[in-house]
């Protein structure tokens, strides 16, 4: 699965003229990448909106206002709202432990954090079915106690959390390792205790990296399809998230409606990306200052 891509562009990477490629090479390189990006990313995205409005704005808004679509949107947001904070707390805790302490099994922990990236989301979903499903290990017990996890909100949240949990930790570990423990030691020698050190020194130092990780995590949480599809049960208006709702509409040949809802998801993603770019811009402004 996609690893975390950090895009920290710095202006300083521009090479001096005398070792640069010729104009022709540069034009070719730039146009190839633009063309590729256009064909593979922009065109499909654009086609979503074209397809969505094909039968007119009325059909578009009707599809979005459809109670099933609204409930899917609500479920998606709710899932993200639970999974993202969970992973934020977990990610900070894991990154903290890994970068600031020496302990046995550290490498195992790092590998485990990467596991959701390495495993197919479908398998992630199946794992939960095996655990909590009617024929699963804990299924009968849960049934007896009338607790519903599969084909309900808890299952969806669990699957989403599983798939998105590396984002925050992966973003923070290198950052915190690079920062080291000196500022924290300084704070300790000045009398600050554990939590005071965290709130006043550690957190302010990692805040931009943390936000970045949270945003990536959120983007994935809202868009997750595979794992959620396995555990959700596809009950319309109840356990359908936006990606699942889109698939159902599409399979029913209501293309316009499906693309209308898809455009909703795209817009959520676009908002996320805008916030992400803003944060990158903010961090980039901070970085050169720190280097000086």
């Amino acid at each position: 699965m996609a690893g975390v891509v950090t895009t920290q562009l710095s202006e300083k990477t521009a090479r001096p003229k005398h070792i640069n490629e010729s104009l022709a090479v540069r034009i070719i390189l730039i146009s190839v990448s633009l063309l590729f990006l256009g064909c593979v990313v922009l065109l499909p995205l654009l086609s979503i909106f074209i397809e969505a409005f094909k039968k007119g704005a009325d059909v578009y808004f009707a599809a979005i206002r459809d109670p099933d679509a609204l409930s899917a949107l609500k479920l998606t947001l709710l899932t993200a709202l639970i999974a993202v904070p969970l992973n934020t707390v977990f990610g900070v805790a894991a990154a903290w432990a890994i970068s600031k302490f020496r302990f046995r099994g550290k490498n195992v922990l790092i590998t485990l954090i990467d596991l959701p990236f390495a495993v197919s989301p479908v398998i992630a979903g199946l794992v939960f079915i095996l655990l909590f499903g009617a024929q699963g290990f804990l299924g009968p017990w849960l049934d007896n106690h009338n607790i519903q996890i599969m084909f309900a909100l808890p299952g969806i949240v669990l699957a989403t959390t599983f798939v998105t949990f590396p984002f925050v930790a992966r973003e923070l570990i290198p950052l915190m390792q690079a920062q080291g423990v000196q500022e924290e030691e300084a704070a300790a020698s000045l009398g600050a205790k554990g939590w005071q050190i965290f709130w006043r020194v550690t957190l302010p130092n990692i805040k931009w990296g943390l936000l970045y990780g949270v945003i990536l995590c959120n983007a994935r949480a809202m868009g997750e399809f595979g794992a959620v599809s396995v555990v959700s049960g596809h009950i319309r208006g109840e356990t359908n998230t936006l990606p699942l709702h889109i698939e159902i509409l599409y399979n029913e040949y209501s293309f316009s409606a499906s693309f209308a809802v898809a455009s909703l998801l795209v817009m959520l993603a676009v908002v996320t990306l805008i916030v992400k770019s803003f944060i990158e811009w903010k961090t980039a402004r901070q970085l050169p200052k720190e280097e000086s």
Binding site: Q182, E183, E185, A186, A187, A188, S189, L190, G191, A192, K193, Q196, R200, V201, P204, N205, K289, E290, E291, S292
Partner: protein, 354 residues
């Protein structure tokens, strides 16, 4: 005794960083912890601050054992090598940190910070962030921040290492006078002996985790107790066969076979320039190095080679020239000890009494 360290040991894995170190420090002294890099100086400092726990041994501050006292409660100010200033806080907040944590009153904090800004000459910089300051200014902020909660003891880990040579000299003098003014017991770590000699009231020489010698700079310079100290302090050349040198024929019988000779105790010149020609012997100039304020000569005496200083005012000597060499004193060293030996021939052999 203000600070007392008893039989402290610390190992990191198989590396023994501190070996059975004991010393005491009087209140108000400025101590230089000197030794080669990787010799355990910083570890010792961090153990005092409570940032590392010793494997064995005790630390007393004001007669109270502090081994189990957390760093937060030891009342120690620590200035880190790279200052470890809080990047996201301005100078004022950095200095105020220790007081803010203690929930001191706003007015009190302001007063204390202003006092320190005045003391460190940082007035006008209180709203700057660490990245907007020069190395020397950052060092002052780190210093002010450590002093703000009025610590009992100030620890400085290589405080001048990251500053360029010229500013370093100014800061040294500034720091010494400031600490003398405040009267706060301070320990600073350095690998630069000029720095230690210039700044410290007392030096602790540490090598491979062991405390080699403690004493005032002059004391350590004139009376090194161990072979390591004799070789480490001052610029010196090691002579393999001291008993072949004129005047020191019996020196080797005192201890091992080697000796250390400092250039300031070697006089080199044409025969007529030497005050005690009878105590001098023949040598040959191998190289002449220009050292700014003086010349350094590399002189060969039989199988031995020593280095000597020569003033720029004197007649220049050329490489290859035959010269007279008078060795005033040397340190005979064995594995453990160092003994100073004066040249016995320097007394006029035929005194004429009138």
């Amino acid at each position: 005794m203000h600070i007392e360290v008893r039989n402290v040991n610390k190992a990191f894995g198989t590396h023994q960083a501190v070996r059975d170190v004991s010393f005491t420090i009087e209140r108000g002294k400025l101590i230089g912890l000197l030794g080669p890099s990787g010799g355990g100086k910083s570890t010792l400092l961090r153990i005092l601050a409570g940032l590392e726990t010793p494997d064995s041994g005790d630390i007393f501050i004001n007669g109270q054992r502090v081994n189990d006292v957390k760093p937060q409660l030891r009342g120690i100010g620590f200035v880190f090598q790279n200052y470890a200033l809080f990047k996201h806080m301005n100078v004022f907040d950095n200095i105020a940190f220790g007081l803010t944590i203690r929930k001191a009153r706003k007015a009190e904090i302001k007063e204390r910070v202003n006092e320190l800004l005045e003391l460190t000459g940082l007035r006008g910089f209180e709203h700057r962030y660490p990245h907007q300051l020069s190395g020397g200014q950052r060092q002052r902020v780190a210093f002010a921040r450590a002093l703000a909660p009025k610590p009992e003891l100030l620890l400085l880990d290589e405080p001048f290492a990251a500053i360029d040579a010229k500013v370093r000299k100014e800061l040294r003098t500034w720091l010494k006078s400031l600490i003398a003014e405040l009267g706060i017991t301070s320990i600073f770590v350095t690998h630069d002996q000029d720095e230690a000699v210039e700044v410290a009231d007392e030096m602790l020489i540490v090598q491979q985790g062991r405390l080699e010698q403690q004493g005032s700079p002059i004391h350590i310079y004139t009376d090194p107790r161990t072979a390591f100290v004799a070789g480490f302090i001052g610029h010196s050349s090691v002579v393999e066969q001291p008993n072949s040198l004129r005047g020191f024929e019996n020196a080797a019988s005192l201890a091992g076979a080697k000796a250390i000779i400092r250039p300031e105790f070697v006089e080199v010149g044409r025969q007529e320039e030497i005050a005690f020609p009878s105590a001098a012997e023949k040598g040959k100039v191998r190289h002449v190095f220009f050292r700014g304020a003086h010349l350094e000569l590399d002189v060969e005496i039989g199988a031995n080679r020593v280095s000597a200083h020569r003033s720029l005012d004197q007649v220049p000597l050329q490489p290859g020239e035959e010269v007279s060499v008078l060795i005033h004193r040397l340190y005979v060293i064995s594995d453990e000890s160092a003994t100073m030996v004066e040249n016995p021939l320097k007394v006029d052999p035929l005194p004429v009494h009138i």
